[in-house]
């Protein structure tokens, strides 16, 4: 992405994971907005209209699949890429991401060397 700064919404309840992801993405000059719970994440997504949404499938209030399904029904978010970042086993993660309309998934623990490039691949800037 070169010098392009993207706005990334991260919905992740685990503070250590969130910190790591923020550091990796901020090192590439992306703006990262973080929320720990699903309902707040949905509100933030509509308010901020980010370039990509990263969503943990295991959240403490609304679970991640339900949230992903909701986001895909919000007209303003229809074209915002949604990526599941999850500790689910690979097969389950793939199946859930596909079924709930995510554009892709990334398994935890993340690979800090490749994560930013993986996310960049989902961002479609005009």
């Amino acid at each position: 992405l070169g010098a392009t700064i993207s706005k990334i919404l991260l919905i992740e309840d685990n503070q250590q994971n969130a910190l790591l992801i923020k550091r990796v993405l901020q090192a590439r000059k992306h703006q990262v907005i973080h929320t720990s719970e699903g309902e707040a994440g949905l509100a933030k997504a509509i308010e901020e209209l980010p370039d990509v949404i990263l969503i943990d499938l295991g959240l403490p209030d609304i679970d991640g699949q339900t949230l992903a399904g909701l986001m895909k029904r919000v007209p303003e978010l229809e074209h915002v890429p949604l990526v599941a970042v999850t500790a689910w086993p690979e097969d389950t993660a793939r199946e859930m991401a596909l079924a709930y309309g995510c554009d892709g998934y990334i398994s935890k623990p993340i690979n800090t060397r490749t994560f930013a490039d993986q996310i960049a691949a989902f961002i479609h800037k005009p």
């Binding site: 499938l57 295991g58 959240l59 403490p60 699949q65 339900t66 399904g69 029904r73 859930m96 079924a99």
Partner: protein, 293 residues
């Protein structure tokens, strides 16, 4: 109760000595690396305790000094107990804390004069399965956790007479259910959970059955399906078609659906996905009893 675990003294305190915020933090800490992520917040944990009749006095938190090592919770109902939320933080595992917690909860169940103790363990969680087997628990059946993304059924509804049920109807059906419930879909759990709706279907050939479910803003859940007369797949098709036509934008999650339930093929036909499997295990606490169900 206290015990010695690898030369460290571990004390067990009743969970009621901790706030919901403390219990939630401890629980989430034990599940950080769990094979199925299931984090909670304090409100969710409170709801869980109420819904499943968890006795926090009989539940336990393992501590070493000021450090919480793990916890386990005990649900108590007439004649039976349910162990749940058992977890030990990653760095303290394989040192006997889990054993101590399970032993303590079994003692609590005995003191409460229950006949049977029930647990569910995620399939392939071998350390937990081994621990429960060593404590005398025996597997009874395999249960599924199912999801269905929101969308209406694709085809036309099969012909049937459909009746939507109110509270009295739902209550009556749950009390007269013939299939064996797990703890989380026992009538007590469902009635505690609230927001229940019901559908009763009569097919042209006289087959009939019903479906009870929880209806919340974002999600349908806690599905209990039963065929009273006829082919479960024909009756199930009518009930699920009606359910998802009526609620096309809600996500569906249902837990502890028995793998051998005759309606399971129809759930698959309607787009339900297996998220993971649990193994239900029971421990007989009084001699000479047949397993519950």
């Amino acid at each position: 109760m206290s015990g010695s675990v690898n030369d460290n003294r571990v004390d067990l305190l009743p969970a009621s000595a901790f706030s919901y915020e403390e219990l939630t933090e401890a629980y989430n800490h034990t599940r950080v690396d769990y094979m199925v992520p299931m984090p909670m917040n304090a409100a969710k944990l409170h709801e869980y305790v109420e819904c499943y009749d968890i006795d926090l006095d009989a539940s336990a938190v393992a501590i070493d000094g000021n450090e919480i090592l793990g916890l386990a919770m005990l649900g108590l109902r007439a004649g039976r107990a349910w162990m749940t939320r058992l977890g030990v933080i990653r760095s303290k595992r394989r040192h006997g804390t889990g054993w101590l917690l399970v032993t303590h909860l079994i003692e609590q169940a005995v003191q409460n004069k229950v006949d049977w103790m029930i647990i569910e363990v995620i399939k392939n969680n071998l350390p937990a399965h081994t621990l429960f087997t060593k404590k005398g628990f025996a597997p009874t059946r395999e249960l599924l956790v199912l999801r269905r993304p929101p969308h209406p059924p694709a085809d036309n509804p099969p012909p049937a007479q459909i009746q939507t049920l109110g509270w009295d109807g739902v209550h009556y059906l749950l009390k007269n259910r013939t299939s064996k419930p797990s703890w989380i879909d026992e009538p007590e759990s469902l009635l505690n959970a609230g927001n229940l709706s019901g559908i009763y279907a009569i097919l042209p050939d006289g087959s009939r059955g019903w479906l009870v479910y929880q209806n919340t803003v974002f999600q349908l859940g806690r599905l209990v399906i039963q065929t009273e007369v006829g082919d479960p797949q024909c009756v199930g098709r009518v009930l699920l078609h009606h359910l998802h036509s009526k609620h096309p934008v809600q996500d569906t999650k249902t837990e502890n659906f028995p793998l051998d339930d005759p309606h399971w093929p129809i759930f698959r036909e309607f787009g339900y996905i297996e998220t993971f499997h649990r193994i239900e295990m029971t421990l007989r606490l009084k001699p000479g009893l047949e397993p519950p169900g």
